[in-house]
């Protein structure tokens, strides 16, 4: 109806002219996004850390040769490697890792299931934020090792106690990360969502959660770090034959046996798991999210 009100229609030539002009503008203004080739990525991302590790090994060996400390205090790289071989040949190496990693992962998933709705409530409901927000921030700064003694008294020396310590360490991080993520959503997105008809749970699912994803991921990363640390603290302090030997217990056993290679082995494995989870899971996830949003600037 509007088309006929004005009498003259845009003629066909004019329309084609406009389409051509528009296509030209689109081509000129569009951003070209390319990905760096694998070889370059390897050189830039893999070579530097490998060099650093090699350097640490060299310095370590030099210190051992210089005999700066007696052998029972400073194990040599080859002694630690022997410990690794022995544990591997006995078949216990993977058991140590798996005992701890399975606990850590399950605890982290539980923390995720609790921390996410909690964070969403704190971020979106004013009363809950005023009531719980400060406590949540406070809990984040409390070292979770402080929860080990009460958890042992409440739950005894068992797996539930480990999970309780993990939850108390990780839930505040995850919830706080989500709250920070929600706070960083531009108000324009919320308005746009509302005009599209997204309210209540649909708003939370379609607008708030995806909008908060970068902050949420940062919270998850920190939540995992807290889970892992809490678990190690719990395993070192609370050892019992029923609990099996995780990496924390391995470390504690090393101390009791005065075996420096075993202590070093345990520390390396704890570090290795922490780095591996970050490198294999969180970093790629974070980069993927940021790249899709055009927030990752190539350097």
């Amino acid at each position: 109806m509007a088309g006929t009100d004005n009498g003259i229609a845009i003629d066909k030539d004019g329309a084609e002219d406009l389409a051509g002009l528009e296509a030209g503008l689109d081509a000129l203004d569009s951003v070209q996004v390319g990905r760096t080739p694998l070889r370059e990525t390897l050189i830039r991302k893999v070579v530097p850390p490998v060099t650093a590790v090699a350097l640490v090994l060299v310095v370590w060996q030099l210190l051992v040769w210089a005999e700066v400390a007696p052998a029972y205090k400073l194990a040599s790289p080859s002694d630690v490697w022997g410990e690794v071989r022995e544990a591997w040949l006995q078949g216990t190496l993977l058991d140590y890792i798996w005992t701890s990693v399975s606990r850590g992962l399950l605890g982290f998933l539980l923390a995720l299931a609790i921390g996410t709705p909690l964070g969403l409530l704190v971020a979106r409901v004013k009363f809950v934020r005023a009531a719980v927000g400060p406590i949540l921030s406070g809990l984040q700064s409390l070292p979770s090792v402080a929860w080990v003694p009460p958890a042992v008294l409440w739950l005894g020396l068992n797996n539930s106690m480990m999970y309780a310590v993990i939850l108390l360490g990780a839930v505040p991080s995850i919830a706080n990360g989500l709250v920070a993520g929600v706070d960083q959503i531009p108000p324009l997105f919320l308005r746009a969502g509302r005009t599209l008809g997204a309210t209540g749970l649909r708003e939370a699912w379609h607008i708030v959660m995806p909008g908060a994803l970068p902050g949420y991921l940062a919270g998850l990363k920190q939540g995992w770090a807290f889970s892992w640390r809490s678990l190690m603290a719990a395993e070192i302090i609370a050892s019992s034959p029923d609990l099996g030997v995780g990496l924390g217990q391995l470390l504690e056993n090393g101390r009791n046996n005065s075996s420096m290679p075993q202590v070093f082995l345990a520390i390396f494995l704890i570090l290795l798991v922490g780095i591996a989870v970050d490198l294999l899971f969180f970093s790629p996830l974070e980069r993927r999210v940021l790249r899709r949003r055009g927030l990752l600037v190539a350097r």
């Binding site: 509007a2 845009i10 689109d26 203004d29 951003v31 997105f189 909008g211």
Partner: protein, 271 residues
Amino acid sequence: MATTTATTATDATDAADAAAVTYAARVEHVSKSFPAPGTSGGRQLVLDDITLDVAPGEFVTLLGASGCGKSTLLNLVAGLDLPSAGSIRTDGRPALTFQEHALFPWLTAGGNIELALRLRGVPKSERRREAERLLDLVRLRGAYGKRVHELSGGMRQRVALARALAQDSRLLLMDEPFAALDAITRDVLHDELTRVWRETGVSVLFVTHNVREAVRLAQRVVLLSSRPGRIARQWTVGLPHPRRIEDTAVAELSVQITEELRGEIRRHGRH
């Protein structure tokens, strides 16, 4: 319909209107005030007794200097805020586009449109086809899988237009959608918007502070005065389409409206 204060009826099935809706939007004696900053309990009047009809299929531009409350009025019509007095009725829920494109960066161009369709209740099997039809309408056929950051400013605004059209509203509210674009792109989008408006028959209420833009696009230009916003004057633009920004007739009317607008602004310097 009772003329109680602050009623916002958005249903076209209202008994009195059921026979024929003669408006896309009907704004009657609407005022809006906000708590004044720096005073306790004092209120600042932003919109004063606005009465305005947008007819079905009509293209109206709201023109005014900053502080005239044109964006506030648009928010009220969009239902994002409630008027302090008066009533606003619209034929269905209006769609709204913003000065910034407001596309969601976690979705592709097609995904943004499909979200609008999904929230409207369009079944999943039809969404993809409908999204592609809408992208075709704004001449972005190949942009379905593109991320927002891969699109140029003009392309983003066209996707935003397509997303607004996906709501299938009879009224499209546009809040300075081209203000942040360069002159060449803006000129092309003016033609594009005119074409889409005529193809779809949607009513448009378009807010701008750019006089030439207002004249180039609209069938009717409504000038708002500032602080508080009142309707100062209206012009019917009878010029045929296609119009060009450099047309003499467009320029002449623009000069006349600009004079009026300057007069409105000057009034504030005298206080």
